[in-house]
Symmetry: D2
């Protein structure tokens, strides 16, 4: 399986973890989901992220999930695996396991104990050392990690840690951060790495405009990310915005913490991708009022997509 | 000036603080801004909030601003004044001053030191005691205050503190909180207070659907909030969503922290409401790329509003 | 191996994780350490806590460590194992494994995402359900977990979850919390559970005075905790304070975050308990100035202990 | 009144705010307190700090308090005034007022919104610009402000902002920070500023050993800080530790958040310094069990001081 490189572009989908009604991991749904994402135009997949339901899995289940996803993805989709952990030894343990399975790379968010510029830099320097040749994604998500990383710190890491090949950008607001990083690499001051954007895709067109290479997020309509990214790559920013705007009301609704994941799984189940939208306990469930909200948004989205011919 | 009551409905605009190029408070812009909001259909105004530029004002400037806004608003718009403070004595001092000027009520966010249910309840009980007969708004904004208030704690406060007449709702996600509070008052278990919603208006149609009475937020197009609220009050939810969707791309952009306020003032200045969009130092400024983003969103918004005939 | 019960008393030592110079877990030191704690008068041991170096262990190393400690402790010392995890499934997985080895019970700290009273209560109710018959310790450590638990919430948990048999008390300040819990059980309103105190033992005499049953902490002189607890149990509070005061300067120094653990291991190595004081990377190391501080405190402590005949 | 300089040494006492039984500021107690601190050997006073009861004062009361303290202190004690504020304009407003009264300088803690090195640096650069020629103290208290400032950031500020003349050191653990700053100024790389230590004095002997110039804290026995600092200045570290150890059990008890301030005022009232130990609402009160703890510690402290002839 080819490794993740700094040339990565397109849409890496953050996959959900499908469970059956009995709470067990639903392997058949995993296969269907991987196929669905591939057919929708995804470029890659990301699994075992911090905000999904990966923390609810046992170690054995996590391995089984990763194995299944990687096997099904095959040559079609490189798979990035979240390996953030409080210590380097368990991080390396999981990394070794998933790279053996055929993963393309791993993703590491900073622990919340980091504060100063040097602390952040030193952490990623030691991550690079611990993971050896494995390419990794720096996940920059201050809202959740509570760690703010200045652009110049990212540049120091990029300069000194060659295996850092991608930024998962979800600082918020973060458009100026993309601009700063691209200005630096355009001037040849730092290596140009891949920047894929998260935050549920809520700023994707503007992020593409600043020089992002695509998206890494899990909105239940990958068609949105695929459409926005490809139209931007073709140079049609207005068309990218048209597509984005059609999906935005639902994308916004899905971005609510907790309930958002239930919404995402509800839609994926309704679309036939996974067998059921249930979250493993403890997890939020949609109320009838939530479902009514989502259904209204879906109906309106359908109409709007037809109006714009998408 | 009539006092704020639990029957309040409609749109209370969070006003910006206009400064001149020299950094001084721009009194002429204040007058124009108050007139603009009144003509746009606002029901009331809110000033000296925590997230605006009020903390950058001297005490004297804050009083002058409040005086000017209240005077200009006259009978047209009741004015709510943010009086959150670490101690009850300075809170009462400012409250007394603005109520003397003719304010309709005050707004109080919880200090970040509160954690347990009883701590939150006791705090608002002592606020009610300290403010005497002055009606107040409970500002529920966990993302910023770091204090999560369960619906049943709000219900306890509503039950025991009769001067708590309004909830400024900006928990996130928070739709289920509105549902819970309305279920409780519908059953007669608690007094029904006014619920006005914040969060930049990003969930306004759904919030109206759950029983909110309107909005209290500062998006640069008050037409959005006024339109959504009035269409919902007329029973036309789809039309409310149409209006909402047209403004959503810009509303989302304006919701970015820091840069969002600069965006709001840029648009208000462009619309001729305030003389200049400058923030007092220290404050973010829009980059040329930010301005280009906003201009594109404005042009697209204009087109979309024409398409839907709004 | 007998299970942990609500009658537990005495001193449970938080064990360090000994590493060799090569960074591997040092099994021989584990044996020596368990013997040392038993001979020093400890009542039990606690391992795999959140603040030690357990997060730096691989899953395999964690199991090996637990196995080794439990085996060496044998009948002498019941072992409590920290199993806090973001999800219930991995928590149960580790719990099952260590209970099979012969652990006496497990310890669970709340995830930082909990805020309201009901959220905390519901979390521990679901922990109780997930762990089945396994007795567990509620770790109440707001400084680190960022979750404040009101006494009445602990009482609700104690009332409804019979397998919650112990409180690891390290709220700070927390003397009034012990008083409140004991008042409640003295009146027969709630079951009386064991309360063992943490916080490096810095408030141990006062905590015993409020009704605590002992200590659960890892200060490098277990003699301090054993002495204070036993003198209090004999009714000699002044003698308990004499012993406490002699150790307090060092205990205070050891309470510094990060460097404190390096200090603890330095002293344990100097005392011959573990082979070397090294922390696994990433971990703080003592500077020469730090070592000089510790050596001065040790010399002064020695003199003071002789003066008081302890 | 002479201004604060980087040569400041000794003990600046954080003064309490005395209230009468009616809740009003007790001016007579202020005079007595200032005299008491002067006679106890204090070098200066600090008022209107963030953690005391200053936030409970109205603006008028704050001015009156500052005026009274400065007037009573006269030539005996330079007075530093806390002026931390969310905006620069109110900070300058209060600064101007207190400098006019005769204060020696002001103290500024960082707002919690700062994260990266540059954000912290830029903040203090703009503080220096806003305050003009007024000398200020950089308050470095991460536990409360949530802002961690690396030594090299302090060095940048010291290099570029000449009016930054003192560090109020209360990072924790922070001994290595003092060592780093002193190494830098010893090598002539940065200006040597005054370092006075806070944290209730709990690490004062070690801090003096690393090169601190004294203490800025409010423990109810200023004799402790005065004794430790003067013995260290005389070169008798062991005697400094003897004095420190005698007071440590009480100093530790007083360091509890909330209840600690009530303890401090209780002792000051008992010593006849202030009329009553009451805190203004909302504020913690000592329970009978707390009072019993404090009385025991006072009796033991008295005995120990006699034993060591202090």
């Amino acid at each position: 399986m080819p490794l993740l490189t700094e040339d990565a572009k397109g849409v890496y989908i953050i996959a959900v973890t499908p469970f059956g009604d009995d709470g067990a991991v639903d392997l058949a749904s995993i296969d269907r989901m991987v196929d669905f994402y591939a057919e929708a135009g995804a470029t890659g997949l990301t699994i075992l992220g911090q905000l999904g339901e990966a923390p609810k899995l046992t170690a054995a289940e996590s391995r089984e999930l990763a194995q299944r996803v990687v096997a099904r993805a095959g040559d079609r989709l490189p798979v990035v695996v979240g390996v953030s952990a409080p210590g380097l030894a368990p991080m390396r343990e999981l990394t070794d396991a998933v790279m053996d399975m055929g993963a393309a790379g791993v993703m590491v968010a900073p622990p919340w104990t980091l504060s100063t510029d040097d602390q952040v830099y030193n952490y990623y320097a030691s991550v690079g050392e611990a993971l050896g040749p494995v390419p990794f994604v720096l996940q920059d998500y201050p809202l959740t990690t509570n760690v703010t990383i200045a652009p110049k710190v990212i540049e120091r890491i990029v300069r000194d840690v060659p295996t850092c090949v991608m930024l998962k950008h979800e600082d918020w607001p973060g458009l100026s951060k993309i601009s700063a990083l691209r200005a630096s690499s355009d001037k040849g001051e730092t290596r140009r790495i891949s920047i894929l954007c998260g935050n549920g895709g809520l700023f994707l067109p503007e992020e593409m405009g600043r020089g992002a290479d695509g998206a890494m997020t899990g909105f239940c309509y990958p068609e949105m990310m695929v459409g926005v990214v490809s139209e931007y790559q073709k140079g049609d920013a207005e068309r990218a915005h048209d597509i984005f705007d059609a999906y935005l009301p639902l994308a916004r609704y899905e971005q609510q913490q907790g309930i958002g994941l239930a919404c995402r799984k509800y839609v994926l189940a309704k679309r036939g991708v996974i067998a059921t939208g249930k979250l493993r306990k403890p997890g939020a469930a949609l109320s009838p009022a939530d479902v009514a909200d989502v259904e209204r948004l879906l109906a309106r989205q359908e109409r709007r997509l037809q109006e714009i011919g998408a």
